[in-house]
Symmetry: C2
Subunit: 258 residues, 2 copies
């Protein structure tokens, strides 16, 4: 770790007032200098959305006088928050970006729908070591106390070891008590998916509409996956890359006769 306090960018996708980000800010204040730039409203399921055809507001939040860090409430998506933080708000490039703690899982295929992870990936694209944290509890009243120790350890480890270019971490924490958690497992993303089952209704004007509903189905029985780790009492850590090239398939494609 640098002798100077590390500069930490904190963001999320549940919005700046969510209990998850409040816990994350608390933990980060024990580690370094903190700047928060987070959405002014919940952005769950936003994937890696950015605001291309609309204005973005980003206003400082007035904090109690004993607070020494800065917070900004942003009308944009989580990826927007990271872009605007690094380009407009922060005086220098942050040493790390942490996103979350998300209210709900971002394990397995959820990573591609996740605003929490999109913020971490956006930071990674900009060359900033980054971690997304999620707790397997969708409730607004979720208890994040048992997350503190793991969030702190993993953040300090990334500051100590660094991350290679093109890699960020996706950390998920099981909904367990501190004594029930067995430790940290490094994992791969399980091959699982959502089986949708839309809830079709008719509005008072007679027009049909849908609610997205569904069931998470994991047919990947590997014991090296994030799903296995979480189901067996571990905190899962998946290294995530944003070079999406399926390198293993390039040779095969070159054999196609278009």
């Amino acid at each position: 770790m640098p002798k100077k306090k590390p500069l930490i960018l904190v963001t999320n996708d549940d919005g700046i007032t969510a209990p998850g980000i409040r816990t994350l800010i608390d933990v980060m204040l024990t580690i370094g200098e903190v700047v928060v730039v987070a959405p002014d409203s919940p952005q769950s399921g936003m994937g890696h959305a950015i605001t291309v055809n609309d204005t973005i507001y980003c206003d400082p939040v007035k904090l109690p006088e004993d607070k020494k860090h800065e917070e900004y409430s942003c009308s944009g998506t989580p990826a927007d928050c990271v872009k605007i933080a690094t380009q407009e708000i922060m005086k220098r490039k942050p040493d790390i970006c942490v996103s979350g703690i998300n209210h709900g899982s971002n394990s397995s295929i959820n990573v591609i729908y996740s605003g929490t992870m999109s913020a971490a990936v956006e930071a990674g694209v900009e060359g900033i070591p980054a971690i997304g944290f999620s707790l397997l509890d969708y409730s607004l009243e979720a208890n994040f106390e048992h997350c503190r120790e793991y969030v702190e350890n993993i953040t300090r480890s990334v500051l100590k070891y660094g991350l290679p270019s093109g890699v960020v971490l996706n950390v998920n924490l099981p909904k367990l008590t501190k004594s029930q958690i067995k430790g940290i497992k490094i994992c791969r993303q399980a091959k699982a998916q959502w089986k949708e089952d839309f809830d079709k209704r008719t509005n008072p004007m007679g027009r049909d509409y849908y609610w997205l509903a569904g069931e998470f189905v994991n047919e990947d029985k590997g014991e090296d996956t994030d799903e296995w780790a979480l189901n067996n009492g571990y905190v899962s850590v998946v290294p995530v890359q944003f070079d999406l090239t399926a390198h293993h398939y390039i040779k095969e494609l070159n054999g196609w006769d278009f």
Copy 2:
């Protein structure tokens, strides 16, 4: 190719009335049976967003009597369109899903912000062979004529050869005339990024706001990248995966002392 006409799902992120999707539909009607489920308004930059806390409308579009295919206009994101098409609209699983033709590039890092590609990825997650097509011309008046031959060939090739589980194709077409295009190149995603330069303004009420602006910077000089191919007159085809695990970094992470 199956003897029965293939069933083709067509979608995009520029909206159902965009010229790009009209060209794509035209080409697909020469190949198979077509069902269109596309956003009712432009969704550029939506990444892999899904609608989790709002209703989704999906209404049939009345077509001229000589048209034998079906079209649906959907209030959701591109990923929503694929989910609702496969679960609610189509009578059987489509043989292929094509998305686009996007007005603007989805090469390199743009793939992570791309609604066009999120639709293709969503189809891939559901086990449907899928292709995203994009033309390097943001104009609403873009000329898609030279795309037809390549769109048809690549689609027929995917129907013929299939794609392995977990892989979809990201196809970008240069803004050139038919005779200027040198052919198809299989590529990897170039390591490039956007350097943001927000345009900060003040609204009539005195509150600051931003427009996202920036410049695309490619420092990846590899001649096997999509950027190289497009800059040298080729149609780029990148196989894209949605297992985001950085498998090469798992061993290293296991050596960390958390």
